[in-house]
């Protein structure tokens, strides 16, 4: 369960205050898959860092599983966008996944078991002994997802995790995230700038305005639960939903004084 109430975040500094987040109120129910989209520079990452306890909000409050967030909360894992910088290059893949479990104080045998299971869950059963930099970008992000799974979080935050991988890999990873979410049933908050990705993945899409950011619209995605890259994306309802989201995001950009991009026919 994720509860965000009247969250505001400004970055201060020499007479010029930048309001990254104006006022966000948002609740994600237990086990829900919510995607957050918004125009670029709308403070998506700031929001996610506040949720993860890595940034202190200027005002307002964030609760994870009922607890007010003052630092990184228990039972929450983050998958960062920069996979190349979030895995420890001096540790092997298996050790990368094991490290947070060490700090949890789990015994060795149990840690090994969890590492094996999580690697299997992301389709990298044989990669435990490799170093992250020996893997492709997509595989590295799989490792980061495996590490998050191994942490056994109730809430998982993903910060544009597939922004830096190629389209093919991206489709595979999207399906992987859906599979993982279904299997482990965690609450998922997935931040992306890709509208199609948001509609394809989520049960719900939260649209943010441009900065100072607030929630522009909450949209339920009433697509069948079984998503398929070919079928779902060519589904008439999918096209309808993505067109709606696209139009709203363009609207948000226009409201910010930027020249509006012509809408897709």
């Amino acid at each position: 369960m994720l509860e965000i109430s009247s969250l505001r975040k400004t970055y201060g500094g020499q007479g010029r205050e930048v309001e990254a987040i104006g006022n966000i109120t948002l609740t994600v129910a237990d086990g829900q898959f919510a995607c957050v989209v918004g125009p670029s520079g709308c403070g998506k990452t700031t929001l996610l860092r506040c949720l993860g306890g890595l940034l202190t909000p200027t005002s307002g409050e964030v609760r994870v599983n009922g607890q007010v967030v003052t630092g990184p909360p228990d039972g929450l894992a983050i998958v960062f966008q920069e996979y190349g910088r979030s895995l420890f290059p001096w540790l092997r893949v298996g050790e990368n996944i094991e490290l947070p479990l060490k700090s949890k104080g789990l015994p060795r045998a149990e840690r090994q078991q969890i590492v094996t299971d999580s690697l299997k869950a992301v389709g990298l059963a044989d990669a435990g002994k490799a170093y992250p930099w020996q893997l492709s970008g997509g595989m590295q992000q799989r490792v980061a997802i495996a590490r998050a799974i191994a942490f056994q979080p109730k809430v998982m935050l993903m910060d544009e995790p597939f922004a830096a991988v190629d389209a093919q890999t991206r489709a595979d990873l999207e399906d992987l995230v859906r599979t993982v979410w279904k299997r482990f049933g965690m609450t998922m908050l997935f931040v992306t700038h890709d509208i199609d990705e948001a509609v394809y993945l989520g049960q719900r899409v939260v649209m943010l305005s441009s900065s100072p950011t607030h929630v522009m619209e909450n949209l339920d995605i009433d697509l069948p639960d079984d998503r398929d890259q070919l079928k779902t994306r060519s589904d008439a309802r999918f096209v309808e939903l993505r067109t709606h989201v696209y139009a709203r995001i363009q609207e948000a950009k226009g409201a910010n004084g930027q020249s509006p991009v012509p809408t897709a026919p």
């Binding site: 860092r49 990184p72 929450l76 979030s86 420890f88 290059p89 700090s103 949890k104 170093y131």
Partner: protein, 259 residues
Amino acid sequence: MTRTLGRIALVLGLPAILLVTWWFASAGSTSFYQPPLETIVKVFPDTWTAARFKSDVVPSLIRLFIGYGLALVVGIGLGVLIGANRRLRSLLEPILEFLRAIPPPVLVPILILIAGIGNPTKVLVIVVGGVWPVLLNTVEGVRGVDDVLSDTCRSYKIHGWLRIRTFILRAASPQIVVGARQALSICIIMMVIGELLGATDGLGYTVVEFQRGFQIPEMWSGVFVLGLLGVLLSLAFTLVERRVLNWYHGARAAERSGH
């Protein structure tokens, strides 16, 4: 196979040419201070006997290893502390820059005044010389750790000693190794300097004794031993570095190939 041979030839080629040149150029030398290389080579086995190794080389090495070890421990320890703490850093940086700028040999007379001429002073001389490059490089390395990795540690609750051991020290290790390598050669120099003043054994002491006794070929042979020691220690260092920074070179190579 031919490649390996080629590399060996390349590494040993120039030293071999220089030695041969020296050998023939000095062959007919009658100068007392520049004896023929042949004479130096001839006195070598009689000068550097097992007994001499035990009485002079081993004490030098023990002092070197203790001094170098302490320089590493103190340099890395303080470096992590200072590098991780912005306030402490801005407070101490001017002082550290000043202390580093003092050539360590000038501290030797002062240290002797304060601490006498025993073994502890000789070790201290080595520490005082070697600690700076380690300390300053560690500070730089710790200061430059990656933000995303730092956030990763925070959100996965990797704290305390586990964090220092598996994150900070490893992330800073490429820089620490640079400092440690500089420190090694400085420590060898400081080891010799410490033995030039008021010592009763050691490599530096032996060389000076030969010089004072006008045993010039023996003195030259001592210089050779010091040079060889430097080469061997540097080789050993490279082996350790390869193990410690294996990941770093691998990651760099992967980056270059556009992975």
